[in-house]
């Protein structure tokens, strides 16, 4: 996975604001855009650490996309945004 391009970051920022419109307190649109950039960079800088945190069997078998989506699923579940069939 590579860093997002400027247009990809813009679209990520735009859709984030549509899906999660706030309120964000005193934060401005520019502040949210800076956060998108920072998260993208953080993901870039911590890929190795994340990969090493995965159990060896999964780490060796899963694709980068599968590993990335697993992180998304775990975080989404933690913040209450992911429902499973078992939730009824």
């Amino acid at each position: 996975m590579a860093l997002m391009s400027a247009i990809e970051r813009f679209r990520c920022w735009a859709q984030y604001m549509r899906d999660l419109p706030g309120p964000f307190g005193t934060a401005s649109k520019a502040d949210i855009r800076a956060a998108v950039d920072a998260v993208d960079q953080w993901v870039e800088d911590n890929q190795t650490t994340y990969n090493l945190a995965l159990p060896l069997a999964f780490r060796n078998a899963a694709t980068p996309t599968q590993k990335a989506l697993l992180l998304c699923y775990v975080v989404m579940r933690r913040v209450g945004r992911l429902r499973s069939e078992e939730d009824g």
């Binding site: 735009a14 309120p23 964000f24 401005s28």
Partner: protein, 166 residues
């Protein structure tokens, strides 16, 4: 000397086929119809009217709006018009272009997120407006302007255009 007023609500807005605000109906005790302008992408709404008794001078455009979720920062509104004199102008009405926009910045006054604000834009680019012209008014949120810092949608509920009859 008198002031002429034209009022336009969300329900009477017209749109192009792309980049238009969503029509929303909110309100618990009274229906609040509005046009929800995106925070990231410029969107525009149009109204048409006849400039009856237009005398001279700039147009004053009041934009009544409220924030969907925010309670701070600024919104930049843009307004522009196209004017045609029927039976005189030979311009193709379907190909008519708009005059340069005028913009105004309005700051969320805080305290209550969904309080009503009134932005004022002085429209000085008048496209040679004359009495009884047909006018197309375009109102947009200049979401990609550096000065537009407010998160979330800005919901427009009413536009008022006023001008002098002398």
């Amino acid at each position: 000397m008198a002031t002429v007023y034209h009022q336009f609500d969300a329900m009477s807005a017209q749109f192009l086929s792309t980049a238009f605000p969503a029509l929303v109906r909110n309100g618990t005790n009274v229906p609040v119809y509005g046009l929800a302008f995106d925070a990231a992408t410029d969107e525009a709404a149009f109204w048409t009217f006849r400039a009856q008794n237009y005398g001279s001078g700039n147009l004053t455009v009041n934009i009544d709006w409220y924030a969907d979720t925010a309670s701070t920062n600024d919104v930049v509104w843009g307004v522009q018009l196209a004017a045609i004199t029927p039976d005189a102008d030979t311009t193709d009405v379907e190909a008519k272009t708009l005059a340069t926009a005028n913009t105004g910045t309005d700051t969320h006054l805080g305290t209550t997120g969904q309080r009503l604000h009134r932005a004022v834009v002085t429209l000085s680019n008048l496209d040679s407006l004359a009495n009884n012209d047909n006018v197309w008014l375009r109102v947009y949120r200049d979401a990609d302007a550096a000065g537009d810092t407010m998160t979330g949608d800005a919901i427009l509920v009413l536009v008022t255009v006023s001008y002098s009859d002398t």
